[in-house]
Symmetry: C3
Subunit: 153 residues, 3 copies
């Protein structure tokens, strides 16, 4: 329960894992890799945040939103794996940022996920990453993130 | 020929597999994973559909277009694997939707692929998924989808 | 040193590998797969190119920019693997093109990466690929590319 304890130490309470409403699932494991679905930011009341970087959301708000997405991803992984200690490495993060044509700071937004992953998983949380700008995202969410993690045999 | 028989049962005829016109290929297998290239919707006359969600295409038309992309992906996988029964699991789907800044229903569009995969492959067709909005796609296609599948040893 | 020799033969000098400035890394290896972060085009003076297809950059300029991204990716892989001959196959390329809503030639831009990979790695360089249009990219770069390669045991 090393990771669970670290979450408590740093005062992080995970949200409930999301449930897809269509013919897909939140994670699929193949060999030692777990692929997650794209996740959006679910706030404390269980609603999806909306907003667009460069329009009605600042970089700092986007960062916090990306951190919220990260909490949801960790919750999903806990639900799928039973024990977060089974995660050997966060392999890949793709961060899709809902942004105006003029917005250029996608990496600063996606740092909200990256910083959380390293805070929680330490060096095992360091991942390869892409951050890109989207014309729009499902339901108007500001950030969508998918991850691939490697788990113990 | 379980999957082939199911395709016949539900009245699905696969289109011819597409051929890339540049220095890439439609699939690469590494270990037990097969990665496909992004596919667009090829209609019965062999032409790529064009259109944009939120502009000249309804959600239902987008859904049908995504289903068409799915048929092309299954055709490509059959061509690569010889036998679709070799597919053990559809692992991941990324659905890129050509959309205006105001369009919000990307998931309803990409359901066209997800529903087809579950219709054809059953529970093995349930996948992790991301659906995102693109400012534009190659040649003006409305939907581009890439998949990762796990195959038997 | 087969690949190193080919680089010399065709007169290619690799740029210095980039260093991430946040909580992520340029590559993560899991099993036989190496996932890279998204890379942008770094020119000879070490600066990131900026531009947008359909606005201030022609298809040919975009192609050259994508080629530059490819050189950076090869440099990163060399840095991570020590020897480029360890690459058994380029598995997957995702090419994100910064484009206006009217731009349709994303594949012709991403060919700049695909052609380079086949030029350098031969048939081992042929990959599955997606090419898509982004409303904007980090810092205003015209092209961002991520790859997955399979390496020898």
């Amino acid at each position: 329960m090393e990771i669970e304890n670290r979450l408590k130490e740093i005062g992080i309470e995970l949200p409930s894992p999301v449930k897809p409403v269509a013919n897909y699932v939140t994670t699929v494991q193949t060999g030692n890799l777990v692929f997650t679905s794209g996740h959006g930011p679910v706030n404390v009341s269980g609603d999806l945040q909306t907003g667009q970087l460069g329009a009605d959301m600042t970089v700092e708000e986007g960062y916090q939103s990306a951190r919220l997405v990260g909490l949801g991803l960790i919750s999903t992984l806990k639900d799928a794996l039973g024990d977060l200690d089974r995660i050997k490495r966060v392999v890949k993060v793709v961060g899709f940022v809902n942004s105006t044509p003029a917005f250029l700071d996608h990496p600063k937004v996606i740092n909200g996920v990256s910083d959380l992953l390293v805070e929680v998983f330490g060096d095992k949380g360091r991942h390869a990453r892409s951050a890109v700008g989207m014309v729009q995202l499902p339901g108007g969410i500001p950030v969508e993130v998918e991850v691939i993690v490697e788990v113990e045999d």
